[in-house]
């Protein structure tokens, strides 16, 4: 399946905020492990809400669930701030101390999974 090229941004969402202190919970897994896409981008990918998509940047790759959000312009995708978004972020701070959490060139493609839990994702950094 051909993917789409997109600009990735990450940021706070209300439900993600409510689970700030319970990030190892199932709830957090549900709310932060999504990628919000415009309906047109979902159609291009042939994915339905809740189906897994693989988001890849020059710095990493994660599988998250597609979520429709009309607020995003076509070609812009949003992942709530958290471990899944940050797996795609560079450690280069361009001399300012601040990583580029927003405006990252990404590709999004349909996949068959699997979506990693927080713990599984953290383990990929070990060893």
């Amino acid at each position: 399946m051909e993917g789409i090229k997109a600009i990735l941004i990450s940021g706070r969402t209300m439900i993600q905020g409510q689970n700030l202190d319970s990030k190892l919970s199932e709830d957090f897994n549900e709310v932060a492990v999504v990628c919000e896409l415009h309906v047109q981008d979902m159609a291009s990918l042939g994915v339905a809400p809740g189906e897994p998509v693989k988001v890849t940047t020059a710095f990493g790759s994660v599988v998250v669930k597609a979520k429709q959000d009309e607020g995003n312009p076509v070609g812009m995708v949003f992942i709530p701030m958290g471990p899944w978004a940050n797996a795609l972020v560079s450690g280069n701070t361009h001399g300012a101390g601040m990583p580029s959490y927003k405006g990252i060139a990404a590709t999004v493609e349909k996949t068959t999974g699997p979506v990693l839990s927080v713990k599984e994702l953290m383990r990929t950094y070990m060893g």
Partner: protein, 436 residues
């Protein structure tokens, strides 16, 4: 059942201080008024870390507070370049001890500003900050701009308490007396509430600030038909609104600090505020995230002269974000131990930095389990500031407030005491083994 009033929220930079809760059997059973859904979730309680733990053969095993503190002190005392990171979801009293410990160790102390408003701090050091308190905004502001900020998701009470929806002394009719402009790359619940929504292209903030500055300074004719994805007509409309304000405020968030341009975006935003002074009173304020991220920057500045990312390895305070900031220190593979307190880099640092954090001995101090715990070698639970213990914090407008203790704990120890006890152990190790 007892009612506790004037509870101060220890969640976000709004630090709402008018919360009313019910307490029964030493637990918060109901939040009656004042808190948003995020603050309420914290007050009503989450899973806690039940006891101190140490990693043995890859698994965390429960140990005593004394043993955990000793082990934490050993890790720090034997490190050559320890990173002491976090300090934003705790009180100033704990931060004070943390900065002193970092100096004693010759380590690096840094707070979460490094991944949120660090660029804002750099810009403020460069060009200053014409600002005010949230109280002034509530009572006076007639034009409110949220730029790269989504308060309905991140600071849910902000509009109600301090800005668009609040009723103030000179804005008694609430939002009827006010206009709200939202600048963002995408539509949000906040943008849908705005009188004017300005949709910029990702990374387009800098030229849009510049264009508005030029228009306010009488140079509208030099502006092309479109700037940063925004049509000229929209820029002229916003500039006209800004000219008419009696008291305007620009609140800005991660949309500008996380995007291309970083601190330069904020410098330009501050210069836009200055240009608006040709017409009326204008202020600008960062939407600070953690309830005491601002407080750490205050404390660290009192103690070292610098607000965050302070490196003591030279024997004096050295400040150079980009070199001494946590992400850089980790991504370069330099830190050889970490103390993580009142924050969660596991969830918020780039993967590249986490790969190194996962390799080095790490002490975690927090009331709650979080992704950082997966890397931690020693885990020390603490009392929840603002619920189980009190202390000083700084709201996003740099107004100091005191968190209240709402319920008792006979087990959990406050952050300040834990850091003090680790410090005592570190001194004892150094006295025995030599060193500092």
């Amino acid at each position: 059942m007892a009612e506790v009033t004037d509870v101060v929220c220890s969640l976000c930079g709004c630090v709402c201080d008018d919360i009313v809760v019910e307490v029964e059997n030493n637990a918060v059973t109901k939040v009656k008024r004042g808190a948003c859904s995020v603050g309420k979730a914290k007050l009503l309680g989450h899973h806690r870390i039940k006891a101190p733990m140490m990693r043995v053969n890859g698994e965390l095993k429960e140990i005593s507070y004394d043993d955990a503190i000793k082990k934490a002190a050993e890790i720090l005392a034997h490190a050559r370049r320890p990173l002491l990171y976090g300090w934003s979801s705790t009180v100033c009293e704990a931060d004070r001890v943390g900065v002193e410990l970092a100096e004693y160790l010759g380590g690096v102390v840094d707070n979460t500003a490094t991944v949120c408003h660090g660029p804002s701090v750099l810009a403020i050091q460069d060009v200053g900050l014409p600002s005010c308190t949230l109280g002034q905004i509530k009572n006076r502001a007639d034009i409110i701009i949220y730029w790269g900020s989504n308060p309905t998701a991140a600071h849910a009470n902000h509009m109600k308490r301090y800005s668009y929806i609040s009723k103030g002394f000179w804005t008694a009719e609430g939002k009827k007396d006010k206009k709200m402009v939202v600048v963002d790359v995408r539509e949000t619940k906040t943008s849908k509430m705005a009188d004017v929504f300005v949709q910029v292209k990702p990374g387009g903030d800098y030229p849009v600030f510049s264009a508005l500055r030029a228009i306010l300074r009488g140079q509208a004719e030099i502006i092309p038909d479109e700037v940063g994805g925004v049509p000229k007509a929209k820029l002229l409309e916003v500039a006209e609104m800004m000219k008419k304000a009696k008291f305007g405020i620009i609140f800005f968030g991660m949309g500008v600090t996380h995007s291309r341009g970083r601190q330069n975006n904020i410098v330009n935003a501050i210069q836009l505020t200055r240009a608006a002074h040709l017409y009326g009173k204008w202020s600008i304020m960062p939407m600070r995230g953690h309830y005491n991220v601002t407080g750490f920057n205050q404390v660290c500045t009192w103690q070292t002269g610098f607000p965050y990312s302070v490196d003591f390895s030279r024997g004096y305070a050295w400040y150079n974000p980009g070199e001494t900031s946590s992400t850089d220190l980790l991504a370069r593979g330099e830190a050889d131990a970490a103390l993580i307190i009142a924050s969660d880099p596991g969830a918020h640092f780039p993967g590249e930095a986490l790969r190194h954090l996962a390799k080095i001995p790490t002490v975690m101090i927090d009331p709650f389990p979080n992704p950082t715990m997966e890397f931690a070698d020693v885990v020390i639970p603490v009392a929840i500031s603002g619920i189980e213990c009190e202390g000083g914090v700084y709201r996003m407008d740099n107004v100091p407030l005191r968190l209240r203790k709402v319920i008792d704990t006979d087990y959990y120890i406050p952050d300040e005491k834990i850091v003090e006890r680790i410090f005592d152990e570190v001194r004892a190790i150094k006295a025995k083994e030599g060193g500092v």
